[in-house]
């Protein structure tokens, strides 16, 4: 396809942000706000949850790990969803920033999934009497973790970065079938993991004094996730720019 073809009307709004310079300018202004929001909300939520929220009548103080576990689990799936959206953007519109963002979401999402698995396992030992059980929810999250790792490895396995982005995008879209399985695993199978407490339809079935710090933590974690991904994508854009400058200089020296 001709490089000078104007983007289709629907894609034009997206392509405004494809300009790396504009992205760097906008994200440079947004990043400190998002990072501070993330840090502040997470700290508030954690302090509230750890010291002021009531202990559970059945689980005692062990319930407090929920304020880390649930936001991490939510971000593990949210991260994969954003990875899939970036993949669609990169496959359909060849959006260059979506490529970079997808490559940077991978490790961050894997880290949050690992955090979710680790905190769940620490909670499971006193509550279920085992570090790990092979029920549907835990297994599907473990598969999600492996999918993240596979994506991270695949994107970085090619000498030509473009090829890595394409392959990673296709893999991310194949792996997206796992997301509904994670979401509904607690409803479809009779799992040890409890079903969802907070639903879009209907009131949450938890005490409001525990709900508030949990929501604060979830919001804070989300802002934190966005901040880390933004910072990493900015670094990747600048890295690419530096490589371009170095290549240009090497070619200049060659020509002389």
């Amino acid at each position: 396809m001709d490089a000078t073809t104007p983007p289709p009307p629907g894609g034009r709004t997206l392509h405004r942000f494809a300009n790396p310079g504009r992205f760097l300018r906008i994200s440079g202004r947004v990043l400190p706000v998002v990072a501070l929001l993330g840090l502040g909300l997470t700290l508030t939520g954690c302090v509230w949850g750890l010291f002021f929220a009531p202990a559970d009548w059945q689980q005692g103080d062990a319930v407090r790990i929920m304020y880390v576990h649930v936001p991490a689990a939510w971000l593990a799936s949210f991260g994969y969803l954003s990875l899939a959206i970036c993949s669609v953007l990169s496959l359909v519109w060849r959006h260059p920033l979506a490529d970079l963002a997808a490559a940077e979401i991978g490790p961050v999402g894997a880290a949050f999934t690992a955090l979710c698995l680790a905190t769940g396992s620490i909670w499971g030992k006193p509550m279920w009497g085992a570090w790990w059980v092979w029920d549907a929810r835990l297994t599907s999250v473990l598969v999600l973790f492996f999918l993240y790792l596979g994506h991270v490895a695949l994107v970085r396995a090619f000498d030509d970065p473009q090829r890595g982005y394409r392959a990673g995008a296709i893999l991310a879209l194949i792996g997206v079938v796992n997301l509904p399985i994670i979401k509904f695993s607690v409803d479809w199978w009779n799992t040890l993991h409890q079903p969802a407490t907070i639903k879009f339809t209907g009131a949450p079935t938890m005490y409001v004094g525990m709900l508030w710090p949990l929501l604060l933590c979830a919001l804070g974690f989300t802002f934190g996730f966005v901040a880390i991904v933004l910072a990493r994508t900015r670094a990747a854009v600048m890295e690419r720019r530096i490589r371009g400058l170095l290549m240009a200089r090497a070619q200049e020296a060659d020509a002389r």
Partner: protein, 221 residues
């Protein structure tokens, strides 16, 4: 359609001429499964209980073995570019490759699984169900494997990367396949598990060649 069949015939002829390469996966399957009785002891009650799991896991690993040569040789000598120019859509090329992988690796695994199950002292009434589960199971493995092989085409150390990508995706097939055989041994109906396996197969049949075709196109660019 004629081009598709011609491509399939070419693949089958190639694998016939490289007989040892083709048999290697089957031999791996048999030897790996034969190691389990040596490792965990020959007690029939233990062996018979875990036999479906052994056979499924070994079949899965054996099906992975020929995958890195599935497109690798074609990419190296340039015939992949010709295949993509042959008028077939890239997904049809991938579908032909998946079909040849299933015929050359999946069917022999299926044939060897029966005798192996007997050797592993599996309850006799569960063996037909195990094979009925392996039938759609190996098809899904071939399809997913083809998609994975197309994705890692041209990667550094693609052979190491391939299992990392494909194995997590095969988890549902493994779970339902073993559950079907276990259900019969426990006196339950295997029907729901087998239906789910066939549903997975029906889903993978159109989707995996599409993904593999996209991977092939980006590899040949």
């Amino acid at each position: 359609m004629t081009t598709f069949l011609a491509l399939l015939a070419r693949e089958l002829r190639l694998s016939l001429r490289h007989g040892t390469d083709t048999l290697a996966a089957l031999l791996f399957f048999v030897i790996a499964a034969a190691l389990f009785p040596l490792a965990i002891g020959p007690a029939p009650e233990t062996l018979g209980r875990i036999a479906p799991g052994i056979i499924w896991v070994c079949a899965l690993l054996a099906a992975l073995l020929p995958l890195d040569r599935l497109f690798g040789a074609d990419l190296e000598d340039g015939s992949l570019d010709l295949l993509l120019l042959s008028g077939l859509p890239a997904s049809a090329v991938a579908a032909a490759k998946a079909a040849s992988h299933w015929l050359v690796t999946g069917v022999p695994l299926l044939l060897a699984a029966g005798p192996l199950a007997v050797m592993l002292r599996m309850p006799e009434e569960a063996i037909p169900v195990l094979l009925a589960g392996l039938l759609p199971g190996t098809v899904v493995l071939s399809l997913l494997g083809t998609a994975g092989a197309a994705l890692v085409l041209g990667a550094r150390r693609g052979g190491v990367l391939l299992p990392l990508l494909v194995l997590p995706l095969t988890a549902p097939v493994l779970i339902f396949g073993v559950a079907a055989a276990d259900a019969v041994s426990g006196g339950l109906s295997a029907r729901p598990h087998l239906l789910l396996l066939f549903a997975l197969c029906a889903g993978a049949l159109p989707l995996c060649p599409l993904a593999a075709g996209a991977g092939l196109r980006s590899a040949a660019e």
